[in-house]
Amino acid sequence: MTAPRLLRSGRVLVGAALILLVALCALFAPLLARHDPGDQDLLSILLPPAWEHGGDAAFPLGTDSLGRDELARLLFGARLALIVAITAACGAALLGAVLAHIAGYFGGFVDWLIGRAVEVWMSFPPVILSLILMVGLGTGADKVVLAIVLVDWTRFCRVLRAEVLVTTRRDYVAAARLAGFTHLQTLTREILPATLPLLITLLSLEMGIAVIVEAVLSFVGLGVSADQAAWGQMIADARTSFAQAPWTLLVPMAAIFLTVTGFNLLGDGLRRTLDVRLGAARSA
């Protein structure tokens, strides 16, 4: 019923197209890149993009200060970004949504406990909490995912709990109980369908946030190991050379911006089409 409406939303289309583009780049990275992202060519360092004066067609987007191909690093970085974004967002959504439904539906002490946990979590700025977690967990893509899940489940929990609470107060939920539905049946058949649009919207926005967090952690040097291509890593590397070679900075920045915009447009479009209440849920 909603599928045709979704396709008529410009935001959903543009957002999905951007993400599809990034996904294709990530998927076919080994075919599209002419160099290995780790290959250092010390004879051709800080080459400008191919179309600029002094550019080399072998390095379409130029090279960094170690002579690594920017395009290759960008494409392989997209792999990492998308994998982290999707798994981390799904993990955070699962954890947050389960807790939100339990808290909002059963209320009472469970609700109180989960509410306090969210409050404690919210008193940590997300960046700080993820840094501390990374110190404890060590580097690696899986650790980045785990850190994002452990930090960002509260975003889902907070917003969804309010929605669950509103839905639980509806008379149709009481009617389902009177008809003999078990708690699980009531949750899955009466409440989840009402909260699902919001959950999907938040999921899309969270993927954008996860891309940013992954970049930030790699930038600080706590994400993946230094030899793995990551957009944050590229930015960190470019900090020594951006005065002579601004493209080394601009290329990964543009990649992050386009991917995050894609997820945000998709999320925003979904929110409008699925018509769910949503305050400003945002920010890394």
Partner: protein, 612 residues
């Protein structure tokens, strides 16, 4: 949408505009203020106030008129005052625009106005915020603001719909009192024909945007000339005399979209005395005796409309005890969170009553009196704090899962708000057969749809509804679905919480007829919760009166209504305008309303919509 509505209102008179929802009565008020909702416009005709054209006004002149000459009393008093400003600040703002420059004078005038609307302790009130006031007090403040500039015209749009019955009566009288005192003209918009006839000099009846009848209030109610007016009158249950069957108009008023290609009289498709030409000829306004104007080709037929003449089946004597409450009570903790001190309030206290098989019992009281909590106790949606609840021979006080399985086939509930009671994402067919889907062994879909069809037929809906969503149904249809769902488990008792309160009289009459049929055919018992005494009188053989969580009086309906022993019951009864327009109507004085501290609502009730 509104067509051919003409009226003139003499200074110092009250004109009532009466119609069911969708008749376009609110549009008239909005047109006067030039504040029509988007997509509506005045496309023809004229609108004058004392010789000044209201349709073609400059914005500045319009605002000037609104400050001084035209005032409005709103429908929802609780939300019509700015929550961030004190009452004093709102008076001051308005009085300043009326040209009172000195702060001291504004205060004096505000106090005087509050006194005129019988609000005591005005000085303290001026420092209060709207949320600290009850609905009735807010409406008094708004009336005081409306009359502050001694306007020439006051438009009151359903000013009492959102208020409790006892307060409603006083607000209506207050408007009439101020109107007499100031010599203002009042346009009184309402859905209640009986109420309008009490305070208005003249009444216009609207149907689907068309004025169908207009005339002096008393004679209009005594001898309706238009079939629709007559039907409205016959659809409302009476407070006195023998119980008669209600006249249930079939179908419902055509919507905006249907109006465009309708020919002839808009009422013709539902009219019991329509003739062939009614469907082709748009009836002109005709004047019939006593300055009455009727838009009907065959108004002589109107007097021939009689209620279905089969006398109402007298409520059968109750059979064996079905439900018994023994000193049942429910206490809520307010602000109850772990590790925090909390206060408690009794939403229901020490309640004892019985319902026999096949018996219809009414439960009346104002909002916040604990009626809904009592229903939820019976249904196990809340657990009793004290006492015992026995249903069908089993003690279900503890509300255990086994109790719930037992209750399933003994009692079911019909909820107040059909909007909230039907999951908007599920098909009607799935909703009504919910009981068959529950548990470990759900029945397969084909069988459920078969049962769904039977159930819908039983409540008078067609099988084609099975594949629709609740949003595609009208309010009355949704309430029927609501009843059908409750019937699926074949219960012996229905608990119905204000199920007709939001509906128009003609739809209400249809539903009441349905409930009576269910009793006759299935011997079902009913606990009928309502604030409307006339409906309870019509339907129920016994009545329970609830006040501040306790049942203050109970007994056979006729006895309680004829000779009530508790003052609260008498107050409730006095608030209903008498059937006969000539009888004196003397509701209780203000002191009772203002002295009554508003009961603290239980947590759930506070979140739910206020009952009308």
């Amino acid at each position: 949408m509104i067509r051919r509505v003409s009226f003139s209102l003499a200074p110092g008179r009250i004109l009532g505009v009466v119609g069911e929802s969708g008749a376009g009565k609110s549009m008239i008020g909005r047109a006067i203020a030039q504040a029509l909702p988007a997509g509506f416009a005045i496309t023809g005709g004229t609108l004058h106030l004392g010789g000044e054209d209201l349709v073609h006004l400059t914005p500045a002149r319009r605002r000037a008129l609104l400050v001084r000459d035209i005032a409005f009393v709103p429908q929802e008093p609780m939300t019509a005052l700015n929550p961030a400003m004190t009452i004093g600040a709102q008076f001051s703002e308005h009085l300043k625009r009326l040209g009172i420059a000195s702060r001291r004078k504004r205060r004096e005038r505000a106090l005087q106005l509050l006194d005129e609307v019988h609000l005591p302790d005005g000085a303290a009130l001026l420092r209060r915020y709207p949320h600290q006031l009850s609905g009735g007090m807010c409406q008094r403040v708004l009336i005081a603001l409306a009359f502050a500039g001694r306007p020439r015209l006051v438009v009151a749009d359903e000013p009492t719909t959102a208020l409790d019955v006892t307060i409603q009566a006083r607000i209506v009288q207050l408007i009439a009192e101020l109107q007499r005192h100031e010599g203002t003209s009042v346009l009184f918009i309402t859905h209640d024909l009986r109420l309008a006839s009490r305070i208005c000099d003249e009444i216009i009846v609207l149907y689907a945007g068309r004025a169908v009848e207009r005339g002096p209030a008393a004679s209009l109610l005594a001898t309706p000339a238009h079939p629709y007016t007559r039907c409205l009158q016959l659809a409302a249950p009476a407070m006195t005399g023998s119980r008669r069957t209600l006249f249930a108009l079939p179908d419902r008023m055509p919507g905006l979209a249907a109006l465009a290609d309708m020919r002839g009289c808009r009422f013709a498709p539902r009219c019991p005395v329509a003739e062939a030409d009614c469907r082709t000829v748009d009836p002109p306004d005709r004047t019939t005796g006593q300055s009455r104007i009727v838009a009907c080709l065959h108004s002589d037929n109107t007097a021939g409309i009689e209620p279905p003449n089969h006398a109402i089946v007298p409520p059968a004597n109750a059979g064996d005890t079905l439900l018994r409450l023994d000193h049942a009570g429910k206490r809520f903790r307010i602000g109850g969170r772990p590790f925090r001190r909390s206060s408690a309030m009794w939403a229901v206290r020490d309640t004892t009553f019985e319902i026999g098989a096949g018996e219809f019992v009414g439960l009346v009281g104002e909002s916040g009196s604990g009626k809904s909590t009592l229903a939820r106790l019976v249904m196990g949606l809340e657990r009793a704090s004290t006492g015992r609840i026995v249903l069908g021979g089993r003690d279900i006080t503890r509300a255990s899962p086994a109790d719930a399985r037992h209750r399933l086939h003994w009692a079911q509930m019909v909820f107040q708000d059909p909007q909230s009671a039907l999951n908007p994402r599920r098909l009607i067919g799935d909703i009504v057969t919910q009981v068959l889907q529950a548990g470990r062994r759900p029945v397969d879909r084909a069988q459920r749809m078969e049962r769904g069809c039977e159930l819908l037929a039983e409540v008078g809906l067609g099988g084609e509804m099975l594949d629709r969503y609740p949003a595609q149904l009208s309010g009355g249809q949704r309430q029927r679905v609501n009843i059908a769902r409750a019937l699926c488990a074949v219960p012996r008792l229905l608990v119905a919480d204000e199920i007709v309160s939001g509906l128009d009289v003609s739809v209400q009459a249809q539903l009441l007829a349905l409930l009576q049929r269910l009793r006759a055919e299935r011997g079902i018992a009913l606990l009928f919760i309502s604030h409307d005494l006339s409906v309870v009188r019509h339907l129920c053989s016994r009545v329970l009166v609830m006040h501040h969580g306790a049942i203050v009086e109970q007994g056979p309906t006729e006895d309680v209504f004829a000779s009530s022993r508790h003052p609260y019951t008498r107050r409730l009864l006095a608030a209903v305008p008498p059937d006969d327009p000539v009888t004196e109507w003397q509701p209780f004085p203000d002191e009772v309303e203002l002295a009554a501290t508003p009961a603290a609502d239980p947590p759930r009730a506070a979140a739910a919509a206020p009952s009308r």
